[in-house]
Symmetry: C2
Subunit: 317 residues, 2 copies
């Protein structure tokens, strides 16, 4: 039997899966992403997660795919600008390092959002569609585009950068340094920054208490979901702004692409669930050129990235 491993290299954890020929997840492994050290520590974490996944699958693999943050050159296997990973300030030949560590020649690499998009198209909410736009709202907002059944990488490998669609000229500063990006309104990090700024000038909020209760230092998607649930005014206001920005930005992309469907996922999407998807769909409508486009919640959740990385490796084989 021919199995493939997939790795989702995240800022907080490394998720590995082993996929069988039918696309079933037959093994999983997970390690914490090191916050100190250098690339070799990251490689160790990846190797350990993949070995755990192979052990639980009771299977060897003949190919590995990696979904990585940062800018990826799939041809050379280098990762640049993955600033959250230790020692990744300079370009890292991640594909070849992982291949050597695992003793495998068949290693593929692409960015985390592209592999997540591939997974939703092949096995998730976008199954059977020709064209779709996937939007992952988490710490930031990423996206991927499937056209004619294939992932569009684009001329510089950066197609699908929906987080940096401008929804307000000269608007809020984004963490990317640009102004008015969708991510500056809809990314969890941007929401947290705005919430802290509002509280600093005296705006009351349940957020600090909820974070304390949950032992969280950051306003995770779970914290935001709980604050909405508890009726926190500030959180409702910021999430309303996020929904409005997602509506405008996704509608803009659909006006240019005219895809069959939009798939909405990511940490925020998962924690807030289908009601959030329906709100984004409603926010898109006033800006949509076509009468309607189907908007679906992503179905693969947390494993989507790793599954997509394994699919990429399998399809390349």
């Amino acid at each position: 039997m021919s199995a493939t491993a997939g790795i989702d290299l995240g800022g907080t954890k490394v998720q590995a899966v082993v996929l069988d020929e039918l696309g079933e997840v037959i093994g999983q492994g997970r390690t914490r992403t090191p916050t100190k050290g250098g690339p070799s520590d990251v490689i160790d974490a990846i190797t350990s997660a993949v070995k755990d996944a192979m052990k639980s699958a009771k299977a060897d693999v003949n190919g590995v795919g990696i979904g990585s943050p940062g800018a990826i050159d799939p041809a050379t296997g280098y990762v640049t600008g993955a600033a959250n990973l230790p020692g990744f300030g300079e370009p890292v030949p991640l594909r070849d390092l992982v291949g050597e560590a695992l003793g495998l020649g068949q290693v593929r690499i692409d960015n985390d959002v592209n592999v997540g998009t591939l997974a939703e198209h092949r096995l998730g909410a976008g199954r059977g569609l020709d064209d779709l736009l996937a939007v992952f709202a988490g710490s930031g907002v990423g996206g991927g585009v499937i056209l004619g059944g294939e992932l569009r990488r684009g001329d510089h490998g950066s197609a699908g950068e929906i987080g940096h669609v401008v929804v307000r000229m000269g608007g809020d500063l984004c963490s990317c340094g640009r102004r008015g990006c969708m991510e500056a309104y809809a990314g969890r990090v941007a929401i947290e920054r705005k919430a802290r700024a509002a509280m600093e000038v005296g705006r009351p909020s349940l957020l600090p208490a909820i974070m304390r209760d949950r032992g969280r230092a950051r306003m995770t998607s779970g914290v935001l979901a709980a604050a909405l649930e508890a009726g926190d005014d500030l959180t409702h206001e910021l999430v309303d702004q996020a929904v409005a920005a997602l509506g405008a930005g996704i509608a803009s992309a659909v006006n240019v692409l005219d895809v069959q469907a939009v798939i909405l996922g990511g940490g925020l999407g998962e924690k807030l669930g289908d009601p959030f998807t329906r709100r984004v769909e409603a926010a898109m409508r006033p800006s949509l050129f076509v009468r309607a486009v189907e908007v679906r919640s992503a179905t693969l959740g947390d494993l989507g990235g790793a599954v997509g990385a394994a699919l990429m490796a399998r399809e390349a084989a």
Copy 2:
């Protein structure tokens, strides 16, 4: 020899060309678009323009293409919502009506912007590129997308609607009824509306005098170009806003598509020329995810639509 005719059905004129096998324009015809009557009057104008073009080409044609305003169904040949054409409030089977009038079975139809995009890709500024986004800034702002050498029509035939990308959430009202569209800042009709509103509340401007001198009732692209030249403050301000909106909206589309180049054309693009293209390129830069994308001025000008319509007919044959 095998020649093809192309028709650009505009709001003010019907432009026809005959194209030889090498893509050379060997004949032209032009009539005024009727403002009264019904579809049969429009068909008469088209027939007359095509016959003039065939006469000047001294050639018969074995196929005809039509670029039309409104929403086009290329499969059925119906045009809907081309409200500027007399009797086109209801859907009109334009393809078949033109075919009958000319006695030709080989008639193809698509929207005017798609055929203009095709022309710039096959014979104009986009020659040889795999991927491009064409933006035509005229009365409104239209666009077309070429991916992998082929025109992307999209799931509802409305891909490339760049004029209705949102550049400012909740912003200016667009003639389409939506808010904050790029066209609401960068379309000539929107610019004229804003200029008139400013003058009504006492803002001084050279525009009325320039219109009078040129015998124009509307602020055509030529009038705007002359007012810029004359240093009219109001026109400079409105064109600055148009450039900013084009920069943000086109950069947004490029962030999603990651195409090799952007082609800028349309009445405003033509009259203001390459300096305008360079200004739009500079305005895109702060919002662009990739370091740079090539921005080129369209080269086929006024004939682009008709040439593209002929190319469409030829490629379908």
